[in-house]
Structures are given as C-alpha cells and as structure tokens.
C-alpha cells in the first residue's frame, strides 16, 4: 500500500453519531404537514371535502340529502372505474386514450353475444371482459415490444375500437326492457340495496372494491413497486432487475380487463346498451382529468390511485353541485373548467405549504 493513503486511516476513529436535527415545526400543524407529506392522496381528499362543504352551504339541505350524495357516487361510477384503470397506465408514464372506447365496445359485445348469438349472458360477460383484456394486451405489446409511445398506440386503438364498435353493432341499441326480461345478469351491477337510508348500486360497490384492491396491490406488493419503478425511470428499472416488459403487459392487460368491467357496469347503470354512449368519446378525457386532479404525475411514477378516485369524485361533486345551484348547462361547463384549474391550484398550494 502506498503511503499516500495514510490520511484515510483516521476515519476509523470517526464519530458514529447519526445526524439529528430539531424538528422546527411543532404541534398539530407540524403533525398535519407531516401527514400530508407522507400521504399525498390526502390533498385531493381535502379538496373533495371542502367542495362538498361549500356546495352544501350554498345549496342547503338538498345537497346533503342521501339522494344527492349517493347520486354523486352513482354518476361517477363509470368514470371512477376508468380512472382507476387510467391511473395504472399513467403511473407507468403512459396514457390510455382508449379506456372509454373499450368500455363501450365490451358492453356492446356482451349485449350482442347474448342477443345475436344466444350465448348465455354470464358467458357473454366473461367473453366481453376477455376481449377487453385482449385489446389491452395488444396495446401493451405495441408499447413494450415495438416501443411505440403509449399516446399514439392508444390514440390509434381508440379510433379502431370505436369504429369496430359501430360497425359490429350496426348502431343498434338494445333496449333496457329486453335485457331485463331476457338477460338480467347483464344488468346485475345496476341492482340497488339500502345502506342507512341511501340507495347504493352494486356498480358503486364494484368501483370501491376495484380502487381498494388496486391501492393495496400498488402499495404492498412487488408488482406495485415495479409499476412505480417502470414509470419513474424504465431504464433504471430494467438495470435494477425489473422485468419491464412483463410489468407493462400486466398493466395494459389489467386496464383492458377493468375497462371490460366498466362496460358491464355501464349496462347496469344505463339499462340499455348503446354503441353511441358518450363514454366512448369522452371517457378518456374524463378519466385523465380525474387522474390529474388526483395528483398523479403524467410523467409517471408518482401519485396514488386513491387520489384519482377522489379526483373523480371532485368532478362529480362540482357537476352535480353546479347543476343543483341552478347554473345552466353552458355556465356549468365554464365553471367546471375554472374549478378544475382551481382544484389543482389549491392542491399545489397545500403541497407547497406542507413541504
């Protein structure tokens, strides 16, 4: 050993203390800030609660009625499910413009399989969900293997699925009454039950279950960590030993599957099956809005799926609240634009204060 290293030997007697700093923020506020810092999805939750309170004060008891509050849940159920799916893709730094189209297409498939070919409804549902998953698999493969940008893959897929939907269905609507008589299981998720005075539908329950399950898997399993890692820096994730291809495939397939379930939920909610449902055109933008309001970064790797769920609810509260307050349709549209920006500004501000 050359003698040039001698000076390094003193480190053997170096101090072994761990650096400690005083926490300069004390008491409840400090505690609260720490909580926000640790659980970012609290921020959209705060915005949500605040907007419910504000609308409640502005509109009065009508808004706090069990009917209005459960109505919000019912109205956001489709977007909520799609937002859960969208969150997954966005966490991997992707985006899925085809979620709404897949949901509508699978609902059409379930209906047509049952009514055109006479396949028993439960099997049609299974087939519909499987085809949704298969569409997701194609997108995933194009993103992961062919290395196409997710935006362009799902943009193409959106057009393809939507067009296929019209072509296959021949634009035919299947009536709610026909479904109720011949294939009630298609409408299964529309069934209601009472929960302390409020009416809930099974579709709402499904939404909550999907969100909760995804939140758990993203947080507590290796798969979830890999989803975040792939979104954060795919190159680093690959070098660190994540099977990026498998992770991406699993995400896109799961998204297709959840969209299939959303398609089933649509039949429950709207009774009939219509290929021209607005979700096919707007489902993507609505779900992305929820995701972004919920604080998930479009650059991937940051955010929580609960945030996206609260984001969907925030939009739902705004929409219903404004309509109940008597704003007309055009003004509602304008105000929602302002409130989207406002909600995210508040979100940003809370994060800053909490830092």
């Amino acid at each position: 050993m050359s003698n040039s290293d001698n000076y390094e030997s003193v480190v053997t007697s170096a101090s072994q203390d761990i650096a400690k700093f005083d926490d300069h923020r004390k008491g409840a506020l400090g505690h609260f800030q720490h909580m926000l810092h640790m659980t970012p999805s609290l921020v959209p939750l705060i915005v949500l609660v605040a907007s419910i309170i504000i609308f409640g004060i502005a509109i009065g008891s009508n808004f706090f009625s069990a009917y209005a509050l459960t109505l919000i849940l019912q109205q956001v159920q489709i977007v909520g499910v799609l937002a859960a799916a969208q969150s997954l893709v966005v966490l991997t730094a992707g985006i899925d413009l085809s979620v709404g189209a897949i949901a509508v297409f699978t609902s059409v498939l379930m209906g047509q399989f049952t009514f055109r070919y006479g396949i028993p409804a439960p099997i049609s549902i299974l087939l519909g969900v499987s085809i949704g998953t298969a569409i997701g698999a194609i997108s995933g493969w194009l993103v992961s293997r062919v290395k196409l940008p997710p935006f362009i893959v799902t943009l193409g897929m959106w057009q393809i699925v939507l067009a296929a939907n019209y072509l296959y269905s021949a634009n035919e609507t299947i009536r709610a009454q026909d479904i109720a008589t011949n294939a009630p299981s298609l409408q299964f998720l529309g069934n209601t039950f009472k929960l302390g005075g409020a009416t809930m539908t099974l579709g709402v329950v499904m939404m909550v279950v999907i969100v909760a399950a995804l939140a758990y898997y993203l947080r507590a399993t290796a798969w979830g960590r890999h989803v975040y890692a792939v979104g954060d820096d795919p190159e680093a994730a690959k070098l660190a030993g994540v099977n990026v291809h498998r992770t991406l495939m699993s995400v896109y397939m799961l998204v297709g599957l959840i969209c299939g379930l959303a398609g089933w939920a649509m039949i429950g909610r709207y009774g009939s099956i219509s290929p021209s449902a607005t979700t096919g055109m707007m489902g993507n933008i609505q779900s992305i809005t929820a995701v972004v309001i919920g604080g998930i970064s479009l650059f991937g790797g940051r955010g929580s799926i609960l945030g996206a769920f609260f984001g969907a609810l925030i939009v739902g509260v705004f929409e219903l609240g404004l309509r109940m307050a008597g704003a007309d349709a055009q003004w509602t549209y304008l105000l929602i634009g302002i409130l989207i920006i406002g909600a995210v500004s508040v979100d940003q501000w809370i994060r800053k204060v909490a830092m």
Partner: protein
C-alpha cells in the same frame, strides 16, 4: 485457470462511435480486477456488455466456462452477477428500501404473502438499514425516504450496498466511490475486500489510482475501446499504469 467471467472479441458500435473495439476480458475466480482507462475509453461499455445491460454487436461471453447470452441484466443477476452502474440505476421517487430490493422483494410468510402477495416491509427495512450501517452511511435518517432526496454520495452508497448484499459470484462496480467522501470511500474499499473474502470475484472501475493499487489483484488497462494490457500492481508503479492508459508509454508485451 479458466476465468470465471470471460469476454472474447467484443464489439459495440453507437452510430459512428465504436465504444468496444474487438476487446477481450478476463476475470479470475476470487480476484479483485481493477479496470482503468481514460474517460470515454469504453470501460462502462464493456462491463455493460458482460452483464447483459447492452447486447454486443459481436463477440462472446462465458461465465464459469459456459457460453452465456444475457438478454437483460435480470439474466445476469440470476446467474449471480451484480452490477453498480455509473448511473446507479435507481428509481428516484421510490424509497431506499424499495430500491434495494427492486426485483427481489421479500414476501410475508404465511397466507398474506402467498395469496395476497404482501411484502414483508419490516424485514426488508431492517435488512436495508443493516447494510447501510455497514457502509457507515449514518447521515441517512429515514430508510423510507425517497432516493431523490439523498445527496449524490448517499445515493451511491445505497447502490453499492445493494450490489454487495446480493452478489453471489461476480460484483461489478463502475466508479463506486466517485461521489463518496473519504470516510465512505474507505468503507466501500473495506466492503470490497470483505466481499472478496467470501469468494466473490470483483470488477472495480476506478479513476483513483491509490485505491486501485491498494485493493486490486490485477489491473486491466483499457484504451480506445480495447484491452491494452493487464498488469500486476506489485510489478508496476502507478506511474506505469497511468502512462499506459493515457498512451504516454506502451506496455512491453500486450
């Protein structure tokens, strides 16, 4: 003696640049092999070709006498080769623990782990904290803080700790002490020797000649994309090594 990790005639081109130019590589069992060379000589490129991070355009890689074709670093890792990349390969937004266990997470025992695939966080956290303490990274206050909030040196320490904890046959370190302080560098050098004494072979890329001459058994001198020579630190001085790698002097017999 057959090298544990062997590369033959490796070539890698990036557009017009030839990063690896028909180079060979030999790592013997249980040794510490230092790789030195100018910036841009192709050191990082060649070790990436050995551990599956890039696929060479030509050439062959052998591990323990068997021809291997690593399609990805995962394959290499499964074969027992662990690498600390120059870029560190960390997910900035994830915690230290998550990063250390990326791709080999530990599941809870029992039903929770089996059916719900729940991770055993307490166990992973304890392990991570132990490994970091071994390296003396004591300024890290919270094992669950995201890697992006660490200083450059702390980050490098985490990457080294990860490789040392999991490498079974070969550990490759690409400038592991570049951003480390004196104390932390010392710890890494000790750790390297420690790991070697467990029978693991080590490749160490470094620009720090005193460190190289202190720990290396053999020194691979890389120049302009290829192996120039391999020298024994006992027979050569630092000046010789620097002269070879910079092209100031030619080695006797390549």
């Amino acid at each position: 003696m057959e090298p544990i990790l062997k590369g033959r005639n490796l070539v890698k081109r990036y557009g017009k640049v030839t990063a690896i130019d028909h180079s060979d590589f030999d790592l013997m069992k249980g040794e510490i092999l230092a790789v030195i060379g100018d910036n841009g000589a192709g050191k990082s490129s060649i070790i990436k070709a050995l551990c599956g991070a890039i696929t060479p355009d030509e050439g062959e890689v052998w591990l323990e006498g068997k021809r291997v074709r690593f399609a990805s670093p995962i394959d290499a890792r499964e074969a027992g080769i662990e690498t600390v990349y120059q870029t560190l390969a960390m997910s900035p937004a994830l915690s230290i623990t998550d990063n250390m266990f990326m791709g080999r997470e530990i599941r809870m025992p029992g039903l929770m782990g089996k059916y719900l695939r729940k991770l055993d966080r307490p166990k992973m956290e304890k392990f991570a904290r132990d490994k970091l303490s071994e390296l003396g990274l004591m300024t890290i206050q919270n094992i669950n803080q995201p890697v992006e909030s660490l200083s450059g040196g702390q980050r490098q320490g985490v990457a080294v700790a990860r490789a040392a904890a999991f490498g079974s046959k070969v550990i490759i370190l690409d400038e592991p002490t570049a951003a480390l302080g004196v104390k932390e560098s010392r710890k890494v050098l000790e750790l390297i020797q420690d790991v070697r004494s467990r029978g693991v072979s080590i490749i160490l890329i470094s620009h720090n000649m005193p460190h190289v001459f202190e720990v290396a058994d053999r020194i691979h001198v890389h120049r302009l994309g290829r192996k120039l020579c391999v020298i024994n630190p006992k027979d050569h001085s630092m000046s010789d090594a620097v002269a070879y790698m910079t092209g100031a002097k030619l080695p006797e017999a390549a």
